[in-house]
Each structure stands twice: as C-alpha cells, then as structure tokens.
Symmetry: C3
Subunit: 236 residues, 3 copies
C-alpha cells in the first residue's frame, strides 16, 4: 500500500497511495518563500503534508502527529479536489526547530492515514466521512475551531444534503456543542459536502458521530450502491 | 430511471439517477442545527434537495415545485461539482409548516428533473444548458435574481467562452432584460461556465434562449463531438 | 491534433484538442453583454480563448500572441477545472479595433499551445507546470503581476505541497524577485497547486525554473508513476 520511501530528493519524507498523499520536509526554508506562505509563526524547518484526496483524514492524522512530536501546525488549506469526487484535498504546513522532529511528525501522520480513512465511505454517488478524537490538538483547532484538549467529532456527507440530515440526527442523539456546520457556500472550498463539527463530552461526541454515520450510510445507499470503506472503521 | 424510494430512513423522500439527486425532509429540525444553516426564515420543517450534477435543472424543478405547493425556498448553494465535469452540483433547502407539504414539494421537484434536464447537452469537451419559464418563482429569484412572475431564461455554455458567444447571440436576437452574466470568477463557484440570465417578455426570452442554444450547439461541436441531451428538449 | 476549423458559426476561429481549447471572435459585441463582462477597457471587437484544461499554457500563448498583434488582454479568469484533475481551466478575453487583428491573435495563441504545454508533466497523482518568457507582456502582467518587458517564470506543482518544495528550491538556486506564491486558499481558484511566480534577470529566472522542474519531477514520481509531457520541453 505504501510507496517506496527511498528517494534522491533530500526533502522527501514519504508517500502513500492513500489519497495520493506526499510528505516532505524543508530543513531550512528560504526567507523569500517563507514570506509568501500563509504562516503566522516563523520556523526555519517546515514540514509539508499534501494530498489529492482527503482533508479530514490528513488533518486528524496530523493532529495525532503534533501531539506526539515537538512540532506545531502552521497552515491548513483545502483545495477543491478528490480527483473529480465531491470533496477536498489538503495542504498542511507544520513548523519545528529540528528537522528530525518535523520528519518524525510527517511520518507519524503518513502512518496514521489508514486509521483515519477507516470511517470514510465511498460510493459512485458520493461519500461519508466520520472522525473522532477524545482530545483535539492544534490541527483540529486551526482547521475546525475545535477547543484544544476536548473531544471533537466530524460528521460529513456528500452530496451535501446528506450531511444536513446526518447533522440533524447527530445533534438530536446526544448533548454536544455545535462548533459549526460547513456547506458548499460556507466553510468549504465549494465542495459538495455538508459537515457538522461538534465538541463536548467524549462519550456524547462519539455517540453523535455514530448516529450520524448510521443515517448517512442509509441515505447514501439510496443513491444506488452501498458505500464502502477501504480500511476498518475505528469509531466504535 | 428513478431509484427505489422505499427506505428505512424517515427523512428520505426519493432519489434519482439524474444528477445523483436525493430528496429528504426533516419534519422537526433541531434548533442547534438550524442556527448554523444559512436560512433567513425559520421553519420547523426543512426539505432538502441535493445533487452531484446539475444546479439549473434542480433549481428550475424546485421553482416549479414551490409554485405548486405551500412551501418556500430558503437557501440555494452551488458546489463546484458535476463529478469532474465543468459545472455545479446543488444544495437547495426549502421550508414549510407541514411535513406533507414539504415532502410533496421535494417529490414534485424530483419528478420534474427529466424535463429540466431536457435542454442540457453534453459532450466530452463540455456542456450547454438552457432553461426557460414563463413565470419565475422563489427559486429563480433567490438563485438568479429573476423578477417573480416574469419570464426568465438561462443560457449557459462550458467551457465558459462558449457561454460568452451564446450570450452575445441571445441578446442580439430579441429585446430582453439582462439580469447578469456569470463567469468562472464572477457569480459561479469557479465553474467553467459562462451563464447569461435574462428576463422580460415571454416570447422574447424564449426566442433569445433558442438562439443561444443554436450557436452553442455549433460551437461545442467544434471541440470534437456532437453534444447530446439525455431527455427530450422542452424549449420549442 | 488540431480539430477542423471550418465552421458555419461566424464567431468561431479555431479549436484544439490540447486542453479542449476553443478560440472565438465577436466582431461587434452587444453593449448589453459588454456591460456585464469584467473588462476594464471597452472594445467593440472581443476575442475569446477558453479551455477546460490549462491556464498557464493558454495565458503564456496569449502573452506571445498580444505581443505579435494589435490587441490587448482584457480579462483572465481561472475556473477550477482540468476535467477532474488538480488544476485550472481558463477564460481569456482580448480586445481590438479590427476583427482581423483579434482573429489573428486568437489563432496565434492556439498555434502556440503545443509549445506552452511542453513543460506540463502529468501523472495519475498530479502534475507539474513550468513556464518561462524572456519578456512578459499583457497576459502575464494581468494574470500574474509580471512586470512588462522583464523575464518571468512560473513554477507549479500539484498536489500543492510539491509546489512549495519546488518554489523553495527555485529561489535558492538563483537570485530572482518573488512576485507571489499561490496556493489552494490564496491566489488560485481552490486548485490543488502550489505556484511560484518569479521575475528578474532572464538567465536567473530560467535557471530557477529549471531547478524547480528537476526537484518537482522527482517528488511527483514518488507518488507512483513518472510524470510525462505530451509535447517537447521548451525550457532549456
């Protein structure tokens, strides 16, 4: 599944067929380029995680990675991509003071992709994505406004109307805080997704995510084919 | 053509293979979700029409549906979609006071899709879309600024430059009011479409739309293959 | 490669299978339409170059074309397209006082596409694009902020993170002026591209572009397949 990670390019860290995701590290970024990047804080070591398909999985995998390493998330951008599908790709920049820290964070994120794609369900008509963490870190905070250290859940359906109904079911199921609802014209890069972002008590967030998944799977199946995940579901 | 509409999900109304369109009804929307949706007026019953491919046809079908039912259009959003094609998908939210009204409106819109896709012409290189109504209602008004009760016409070509020439031909053909011209950077979600919106006398609007279609079919054919419609043309 | 250019439509100039690009000329644009187009200066003769796949190549080809003809670039818009790929399509409007001038400019641009696609490299996972001119003209100025008459270079990678590393390599290689760096959320239409725009001494710009290309080819190949160009590279 994972591509060869030996390379003649010094900046290359690793790549994955999952979402066409590539991880790189610039050990000493040129100030002329750094001045043009959309980063708040200035680090000399920049890590890059970039994918054609998937934003939520890469962001969650990076959220796990920055918790485990001495790095910080600097920028998250969401291209309208998925290679003709309904969703986003992703560009994530992280910073650190030591190239080995940054390379480690990028590698941890790459290694976490299969888990974080576990609750991505695809059919020819659309897709669903569910994410959960018991303790949000910098990536979830920057991308989704999740309070750091609290449980966070993502409930997404495409075409976007399915996400509306999934979100309604989720908030009726358990007592959670609604952070926002993203839709084609608000909070997405014109993707065809409806995405509810929730926070709160860990058990409640998990319960709401699972309820959203259940109704989403039924609705998306109404468009002709059973949605399938490529990796085992991790939200139980 | 239409998919099975029996379902175990209470919110499901119906689905169509045409554009991967799904219709749903939330009989009593959760206030936490409602507060995050981009709706001006508050209804407790929310109808959802959501599609991967097509915005104009779904909007026109919903325009017909709200005229025939006791419902109101609350929000229309245009994802950049069409499953890798040049255009939009759609997310339409409607409101009503009675779930049976809302379900009926969604069903009327689903039933109207084949008509409203009648003047959508596809080729491997692009597409054309023509729409006409003798009397615009709430969906055309909200999405395109069409004056309610007056004739409205839509003249669209992709790649977008074809829409420029179609629009020029249309306004030279008959005396109509130009509402706007949408292009990749203005009035679309970065779709590759040029779209003229016109209003005015019913006969003139129809004549302009037909003239735009004629030149569009010739231009798009220059890119290699004859454009074809999947359903009978309704604008005559 | 080039499609038949005989046509019954007076506005048609020519078409190319390269990027599904069509060229047209409106000899006397209707004022009602002109008032809705996003053009600063008013010309009665409007030329249109429109493509599903490719923005840089068409813009560079038009940059060459306006230098060779008595025409001016009026508008450049970038749809999020490439038929499911990671990049843009393009809509370019030019103006002139004589239809023969405008038709000539459109034809010169169409004829230049194969050269300007020479350093576009595709793989199933993404693409690279490199462009260079020793003397930028109106199209590069309007689209990319290139100083007119100076050398200009474009260094683009997709997925976008590859463009970040290509850009870093480029600016470290030679002393150039950085005009801007475009990314999914800044300066693109949410395409999955990282694009460095540079200006300066002709030899330095060329050297930086070539260095960016070299690292980009290696990085994109890490995602599974060698990137290939459909036409001979022109930047040497």
């Amino acid at each position: 599944m994972f591509l060869n990670s030996t390379s003649s390019v010094s900046e290359f860290v690793g790549a994955s067929e999952i979402g066409d995701t590539i991880g790189m590290c610039i050990p000493s970024v040129d100030p002329l380029l750094l001045g043009q990047l959309s980063v708040q804080k200035q680090y000399s070591v920049i890590g890059v995680l970039s994918a054609r398909t998937g934003a939520g999985p890469q962001i969650m995998a990076m959220d796990d990675a920055v918790k485990a390493t001495n790095t910080e998330v600097l920028d998250i951008e969401l291209p309208r991509d998925t290679k003709g599908g309904a969703g986003h790709g992703s560009l994530i920049l992280i910073g650190g003071n030591d190239p080995s820290d940054v390379r480690q964070a990028i590698q941890v994120a790459l290694d976490g992709l299969s888990k974080r794609f576990g609750d991505v369900y695809n059919s020819p008509a659309g897709h669903l994505e569910l994410q959960f963490t018991a303790s949000a870190s910098g990536a979830c905070h920057l991308a989704f406004g999740a309070p750091i250290g609290k449980a966070y859940g993502l409930i997404c359906g495409a075409p976007s109307g399915i996400g509306v109904v999934m979100g309604d079911t989720a908030v009726k199921t358990a007592s959670v805080d609604v952070l926002s609802f993203a839709s084609p014209a608000h909070g997405t890069s014109f993707s065809n997704e409806g995405i509810l972002h929730i926070s709160g008590d860990s058990g409640a967030v998990r319960q709401a995510v699972i309820a959203g998944r259940e109704v989403g799977l039924k609705l998306l199946a109404e468009l002709g084919a059973e949605p399938v995940n490529d990796f085992p579901s991790y939200i139980k």
